[in-house]
Symmetry: C2
Subunit: 274 residues, 2 copies
């Protein structure tokens, strides 16, 4: 289990702000929900919001900031005042023209007066309830990040965001446990909900050719009596941005895979949101 | 154009109720929005609502009835009192065990005290605005129903509803008109919004092998300087039900393809709904 399992969210965010924790957040503040980040120049905000509304499973939009203001969000139930979205994630990716330019532990210099930040739901939020039901995700038992894969499944396009594909996280389970895993996670509608596919046939449908080589996150371990189970993943917006290449002008900022913002809303509370 | 283009919705619904109009509704009451229907035994309602929430592009849920009551919906802005969902569509399909059993002009005997009806947004709703912008859908010019195709694109599953695939409607446009077609229809978020794909490569991505053989609706005519443009289609829930085969017990009712309920909300009004 994470050494940060019992910390309060604001304590953990302070560690991130001071760059004392700079890697993945699986198991951190275990009763609290977590969020993905994407920060876009404001001219792409409407198309991005529409993309999220059209594709709520991989892109469950929780809330957004005003233009140029990383200290405020439009739905205060997720996180209390006093945060700074430029520093409170463990680390950040900065993209230009769809290419990763650098990775940093804060983006104070990059978050401009023209940027809007979006918080996206994260599947870490349902892992605590899986654990409580004896369905401990393998990567938590191994102390790794969750394995994350690109797929060939297309998002429904929105404005500038075309030719986008789902990114999925994977947790292995025995086939007889899949119905219970589906039921538990289906309640978390704001954090990807139930799996989008499962089984080795599911991997094939999603265009995942080699399960042993995830595109992001930790190395998977799947036992012989288990099958892979795939959830929509909040890394999707990052891939979407990379896939737009030269269509998006200006810098785009995201969190790094698995290194999330810990929110002040508990998993139990976020489960109740539609 | 439809001979019913200028009728008031309640007048047109009366024609349907009296079985004087029993076929497609393209162009009927041209300024008003239209809706698809699916009627399920109540035990499948929660899973179906979740399916719609997870897949809002092919399944934009507008409103639902109470159990066993086809005269009331939970959002009165769509249609005024005095309707009867058992009679006010031109015609209905009745399914058992995922198989079409019969087609009728009313379902007074089939809509039981255990049934819940769901109204789903319909792409007919944005056709008037396309016409007003000189982008007349071909099937309207030809006086036919819109061509509708099954695809291989998977919906994200929800509960009992697994292994479901998108159904799409198709309208041909010149490539240079696609950006304007996307922009106009993108505003109609409750009636499928912008296209999900376009072009002959898009048809291939969607697994449509023969454009000349639509699975439902009218025969297409695509000119040499045009490409097919595909929208999510409210026939999807019908296909979803057929795809569940023996998993759904009891009778399921739907409208027949292209033969919609004309609502009392105008296309201009439905365009403003998120």
């Amino acid at each position: 289990m994470s050494e940060y399992a019992q910390l309060e969210p604001h304590q953990f965010r302070l560690l991130c702000r001071e760059a004392k924790h700079t890697s993945h957040t699986s198991g951190a503040c275990e009763e609290y929900a977590q969020a993905n980040l994407i920060v876009l120049p404001q001219e792409y905000a409407d198309d991005f919001i529409n993309l999220c509304l059209r594709n709520p499973v991989p892109c469950p939009l929780l809330c957004k900031t005003p233009v140029g203001n990383p200290f405020t969000i439009d739905n205060p139930e997720y996180i209390k005042e006093g945060f700074d979205l430029r520093t409170d994630f463990p680390s950040y990716n900065v993209y230009e023209n769809g290419e990763l330019k650098f990775t940093k532990t804060d983006v104070k210099n990059e978050w401009s007066s023209n940027h809007i930040g979006f918080l996206i739901g994260c599947s870490h939020s349902f892992e605590h309830e899986l654990c409580e039901n004896g369905l401990i995700p393998r990567h938590l038992a191994l102390g790794r990040g969750v394995p994350v894969y690109k797929t060939t499944k297309n998002l429904d396009p929105a404005g500038v965001f075309t030719d986008c594909t789902y990114v999925v996280s994977m947790r292995p389970y025995r086939p007889e446990d899949v119905p219970r895993v589906r039921e538990i996670t289906s309640k978390f509608k704001k954090t990807h909900g139930e799996p989008i596919d499962w089984g080795y046939e599911g991997a094939e449908r999603l265009g995942i050719t080699d399960l042993n080589r995830p595109d992001f996150g930790g190395q998977p371990v799947i036992h012989d009596d288990e099958i892979p189970v795939f959830w929509g993943c909040g890394v999707t917006p990052q891939l979407v941005v990379m896939q737009q290449k030269n269509k998006i002008r200006g810098q785009v900022i995201s969190h790094t895979t698995g290194a999330m913002l810990v929110l002040d809303i508990t998993s139990e509370q976020i489960k109740r949101l539609e």
